[in-house]
Amino acid sequence: MAPQRTERLLNLVIALVATKLWLTKEQIRRAVPQYDDCESAEAFDRMFERDKEDLRELGVPLVTGSPSALFDDEQGYRIDRDAYPLPEIAFTGQELAVLGLASRVWQQASLAGPAARAMTKLSALGVEVDTESLVGVEPRVRAAEPTFDPMYAATRDRAPVRFRYRKPDGEVTDRRLEPWALTSTGGHWYVVGRDVDRGAPRAFRLSRVQGAVRAGRPGGYEVPADLDAAALVGPPVIADARTAVLRVRAGRGTALRLQAGSVIPGPATATAPGQTEWDRVELPVGDLWALAEQIASHGPDVIALEPQDLQAATLKLLEGAAAAHPGGPASPASPARAVGGGAG
């Protein structure tokens, strides 16, 4: 089926480029032998609609107009010859190699396919690729989220979307968005745009979009020219300039020591037999809760001394972890498990 289909599309392209006049659908049907085999007008219509979509996707500038003033209700088709060709560009072999690398970045079909096709088109320019300069570097971008494809299509076409969204706290709401861009940061994909109901820019993590994305009519809004998609995704972390003072068991807390501004070895007097030696580690607080989490993750090996709110935050985390794992010889099976099921 595929070779026949390629043949049909190629004949269609040639017919529509070669013509100086508008071709009506009926003329096209006669001009392309593979359409002539269609059993019915409906079958031809369906096939022609799909083929038009394919050609537009490939970048073929298919234009419509009226073949005659007398029959202005009948639409005609041709390919805009001036818009058809790739402009003359001269890439060096090294530049083509970088393009090739850029084209292989994509791991999902919605961009990987077009990227590969684009490289094929550029190979018509005739330069040999210099692969030597790129040995061993393989950036990859993947979008495992099922909503990536519909959200990308809507963003590209500037079509407003509706979807259900689960906030980090679990609350589910219906959202209406004019998507401006898809952005990936920290390994997650987000769609940013104008939240129609809130009348303000918002970012949504794609993995938290529930179910289908419904897109409206394309071309319904403008994207801000000075858009900084990444800036909309997360509030910038305000660095806390205070100095945190920690007590770190000798030989432990490696990551904290690496971040530290100073490490003061513990007094030798503190090491009686069986007693632990502690070092005093000082480092910038930065993000208070992030640091508290890091300290808590070291359990009994690191103790937050100052500032007071850092110690309080760390204690809160440790108390929470202890409370979530109450004592007893064996942990009971989660009763909630039986109620669960039917995810997503």
Binding site: A116, T120, R166
Partner: protein
Amino acid sequence: MSVSATARLSRLLAMVPWLLQRQGVPLAEAARHFRITEDQLVKDLELLFVCGTPGHFPDDLIDASWDSGRVFLGNAEPISRPLRLGVDEAVALLAGLRTLADVPGLHDRDVLEAVLGKLSAAAGDAASRAGAVRVDLSGGAQEPTLAAARDAVRRRRRARLRDLVPSRDETTDRDVDPIRVANVGDRWYLEGWCHRAEAVRLFRLDRVVSIEVLDVDGTPPAEAVARDGDDDALFSPSPDDLVVTVDLEPAARWVAEYYPVDEVDELPGGRLWVRLRTASPDWLPRLALRLGGGLTVVSPPEVAARVRALAERALAGYDAADAAVDVTPLA
């Protein structure tokens, strides 16, 4: 499938202008240029041979001959110029290039800027949609580390790493013969033959404390093969891994998105039940402490007991710290 038909059509529309300007090019050379087999090329020529302008009489059809092993093409004026890029194609390449440009230390900025400029001009209107996708892969890897790792790969030099192993709370020193620099999301890794482990290992560059490119040949041994390019292959689970089930509070749901998990189930109140595997017995208790009750270990019970014990001992340390002033020397 429509995908393969359009991909093939793209190739044909690129091939025709290329061949028209290289009459008599050997089949093998043309096939190599378009990265297809000679058989596939002949099939393409056979297809071109039966296509043409309406009427499809012999004079209307594309002339193609290749019997001599050299390709001659004619009568293909309507498609004698390469087709412009489509919107998705322009977005894919331009956003891909910007992704590369944003990775610190990875590429020659001058080349990237030149390509971006040329391609934007070539893509015309389609380039205006390139902002639809924006990827930040810069991650936590420091530019000098990434640049040094790339340099080691390119020049095939051995690299001396000191890397941090948070789950064991230690650093290790090792010599690595690099195979490649790769990423999963915005995390960058150096994959290479580790002389210490005598095996292929992945090193997270944001955990590389120091890296030195040695003036020693770093060609990995023949048995050192990079894992498949697929993300999942980078972290293939081992049968020895510990299987753990946990409950996540709504605020800790991100864990199921952030770490590879085997199974996820919704629980009432926006909570999640998750089953995952871990190769490091200390990793999960540390995560539980970090999440401060956002994560409850359901099974195995000994892991839950370990979380409790660590938390209680840590809390006890604070009581001791209040009493024992002597451990904090005056600054």
